[in-house]
Symmetry: C4
Subunit: 329 residues, 4 copies
Amino acid sequence: MATLRNSSKSINNSGFSANTSAEGGRLVNKDGTINLKKTGMSFLDRMSWYHLLLRLSRVKFLLFVFLFYTVVNTLFAFIYVTIGIEHLKGTDAGGSLANQFQQAFFFSSQTLTTVGYGHISPEGLVANVVASLESFAGIMSFALVTGLFFARFSRPKAYLKFSEHILVAPHKGGTALMCRVASQKNNHLTDAQAQATIAFHVAEEGRRVTKFFQLPLEISSVNSLALSWTIVHLIDEQSPLWGFSEADLQQSDIEVMVGVKAFDDHYSNTVQQRTSYDASELVYGAKFLPAFQRSADGSHTLLELDKLDRYERVKIESNSFNAAVTTAN
Amino acid sequence: MATLRNSSKSINNSGFSANTSAEGGRLVNKDGTINLKKTGMSFLDRMSWYHLLLRLSRVKFLLFVFLFYTVVNTLFAFIYVTIGIEHLKGTDAGGSLANQFQQAFFFSSQTLTTVGYGHISPEGLVANVVASLESFAGIMSFALVTGLFFARFSRPKAYLKFSEHILVAPHKGGTALMCRVASQKNNHLTDAQAQATIAFHVAEEGRRVTKFFQLPLEISSVNSLALSWTIVHLIDEQSPLWGFSEADLQQSDIEVMVGVKAFDDHYSNTVQQRTSYDASELVYGAKFLPAFQRSADGSHTLLELDKLDRYERVKIESNSFNAAVTTAN
Amino acid sequence: MATLRNSSKSINNSGFSANTSAEGGRLVNKDGTINLKKTGMSFLDRMSWYHLLLRLSRVKFLLFVFLFYTVVNTLFAFIYVTIGIEHLKGTDAGGSLANQFQQAFFFSSQTLTTVGYGHISPEGLVANVVASLESFAGIMSFALVTGLFFARFSRPKAYLKFSEHILVAPHKGGTALMCRVASQKNNHLTDAQAQATIAFHVAEEGRRVTKFFQLPLEISSVNSLALSWTIVHLIDEQSPLWGFSEADLQQSDIEVMVGVKAFDDHYSNTVQQRTSYDASELVYGAKFLPAFQRSADGSHTLLELDKLDRYERVKIESNSFNAAVTTAN
Amino acid sequence: MATLRNSSKSINNSGFSANTSAEGGRLVNKDGTINLKKTGMSFLDRMSWYHLLLRLSRVKFLLFVFLFYTVVNTLFAFIYVTIGIEHLKGTDAGGSLANQFQQAFFFSSQTLTTVGYGHISPEGLVANVVASLESFAGIMSFALVTGLFFARFSRPKAYLKFSEHILVAPHKGGTALMCRVASQKNNHLTDAQAQATIAFHVAEEGRRVTKFFQLPLEISSVNSLALSWTIVHLIDEQSPLWGFSEADLQQSDIEVMVGVKAFDDHYSNTVQQRTSYDASELVYGAKFLPAFQRSADGSHTLLELDKLDRYERVKIESNSFNAAVTTAN
């Protein structure tokens, strides 16, 4: 197996540790999140509710909000029943406790949402104070809930689609590591910048350590992420991958982390997305096929998102490659 | 026809492909959008509702929202009629179905908007549950609608006006490619940066390929976009346009993409705008005329936006130009 | 009078024009706005309502909003009266037209704000349709109004206070141009960057032209704008001010434009502020006095904002200065 | 005591003054705020309400808002009682003044929150005008209050935890100054950048002056702040700390200010946090122990936040160190 070249050039600015005996599994998940849990502080100290509520699935978020609405109404219904349902003018005080609770519950919901039909209305000091507090609480808590709902809806996202595989492809007489990315929705990203880091998990003096290398890219920024963008790292003598054969790569415990950030003028904000490829997602000897074509009427270009990962196998001239390796060594 | 000089310097960081056999029409539309459609994923996967609703015209957006309001009210009206209009106290249960629907519809709208007059009010468990859900749904959906309405209104825009033509003008003893830009509204942009890329669509080995060149600008950033800003690319020996005569340019299939980004302290955000010029919008041998003048009382400057594209024809010394070309070749 | 040195180094990236025969008055006003008006497009095309409504004074904004509220209610009141006040249940249809209008007006305001007491309520199709539209319009228009109100309140501002004068002070054996800036409120700015440009309005071949020079600063960025920050341009041989005596400066038609931008972590945003000094605001031979002192108990520092412009006159060694000039020439 | 090396390299871009005779106490507090007060302008001119209300503790903010709600209701209650409670239809005008005030107060709260039950409703011109104004005022003021409430909740924060101590640790055959930082919540920071400045308060010609040095960091930015990040300043010949023994450091009046900024894609914004270490928080001869481990099932990594400050004492080879110092001198 080829030894790791340029090992001295390893600079760990990945945010991960080189001491991977203490790390478990993949560093970065396929969706770009970090494969990490935090301990050592209480749950509440570790919890940002804003992050949690932004990250929940849409269904869970709406369930959460609805649960909150129900719980608050239940709470206030208890209070109104405790005060005495007769202080809610318009209710039927003669009913069962369940019926009284039901009436109080709906009065509560009419107060919390400030719909206030008024066929039921508070009477007397205590009921009025509670109703007055409830409408205040309703405005304040719906401010958070609706703010979050809109923040989720308008949260700047890159909506990038990465190719599922990363290829070692022939390129300019040598080889290059390539993945492909495109924006998948009706968004238009400009000033896009890409960045790639490779992690080699290697055994060193009996320990499993990780060497990180920033991978220089042929073109690291584009003015406009219009079509699909093939992100290319040339495997030249400066590359940590120089001299790795197909077998070497398949046996290596590697992980390539790719990140793209860009500007979206609808959000007026920077968006970013990350992904990661491990050895099983690397194809040695393949090149991407075009993922766009001219429209039938010739007036515009069609970007075919389902073809983003489309590649064909090609033979890499192992001869010239080995020769290069030999020369380099 | 002059051959493309410095062809080796072509670096495609435009986000478009060099393989333009597969591209159709202009790359960038006049309004800065990309002339591209996406396929290969389902409509919903390709659709960001946020982008769609921000991009709709004002009239269409308001119609969309109003339609949404009507549809939701109709839906709830059906539910109330199904439950039985007699559970809405204050309605006339004896009327026709149409009349019942009408009453339910308006009760629904009073609930959805939380106006809740109360001359109609829900009675019994089911009607109360539905009304309670509706006021909740109203608050949540109006949160999106009003959030979007304000987001559209406050969306950071550059409000730039570009000259409609791009000129080849005499400049410092040679020639330069020039377009002009100004902010057209009562906004003040600072730290403005410009960027220009030229695309040459050329025939190469039978295929139509595109060569992209970043055009270096004489001044690529200004502290304040106060007056009109003439963006100048010097056509010197380093320029891909070096050696192109008027005839060459008119026969060329070129596209010049110009982008400006700047900071607007009212939005506290970066804004940007792009445009594109094709060969038909290029004027060879012309120079811009001033687009501002001193105010009548001398106390301030007047920027005349209608004169942004005002230019006069000038003769370019083809002699010295050709001479230079000759020398350079 | 000293001639302008390094004239060839003049680079106009100020956003203003060198052709100042066509410019009137000061370039930048004392409050950092541009002394410019725009013409040549219709008022509506030149007007960004967002910018206008953010820039209005607080009183004018509230008056504007209140006027809007009154006008909309008046409009709807007319509609209700036209439909017939008898379709508003709970009103007194027998009153005068003025009285009818008054009742309709208040019903309108109760609908627009969604307060909906319900002692008056719409009856019949037409009145219900109008009321339903009005509550919808109320929600939509209050979304803009309240959004703007909060946007004004939360708009990122630098709250910088600049010294009113710019000094030519002795500095490191020579002289330097200095002004001073501090954040004046309970805000804390970090990563502050300053930038200064000088404009010389000079007569050249009978025309009034302006030469712009970027002024290099001794320290152009500070980690934290904690205390007052003295912005210093060294008047060395590279400076366009090199060789100017007090008399020269007073006769010169100059304008120094200073801008500071920084990060405010309460807004989580970049803020910026600009100002400008003309010759009348330049003091030749003065140095700033400290604007801070230790608190009485020694536990913290007191920044004295009223002393930001406090300076004392000092003699500039014209001897050594002139000598230097002579040597340099 | 070792003299301050490279004194000439001191560049004060800290935002603090070198003239510390006038400064009191620590420059930067442990929580990153500046130890400074401002005077010399009126309270209102120095006060940004937005900053104040964002900085208040949650409890104080809610109390403030509730107080505001109560005061406004009280105010309007007075007005309604003054007008005459009989103009509020549905109230009992025969009660005591206190009882009248109470009824007016609750009518006011129903109007301000737009809940508008309607069992009480305004009658006559004056009461209607006041109620109409109140609902308008309610919408406007709740816009600020709820906007602020959500702004507080969604305010971009870095949620960083810094080690409580800064260490002088053995590093690559020499020594280095090290502190450690991690994000403590369920947030994920990318493109993190660190910056460190040291302040030496020294006596110079009888005055207490401060020398500031930017401390170069071994790695000043990481792609992803995934695990804990050890921020390392190598104490080499270029370092202002070169040649300082343990005793020297303990006698020095130093302060190390550390700041980290990064991008949080949930806020889509830059976040930052600062801290400061004084001599009492510096441990000479210690190294950090790992703060993460592999999870029990090996599938992910556990970051142990309570171990962020965990270090062990190590002996620093004073021999080689002194030797180096001797050589360097």
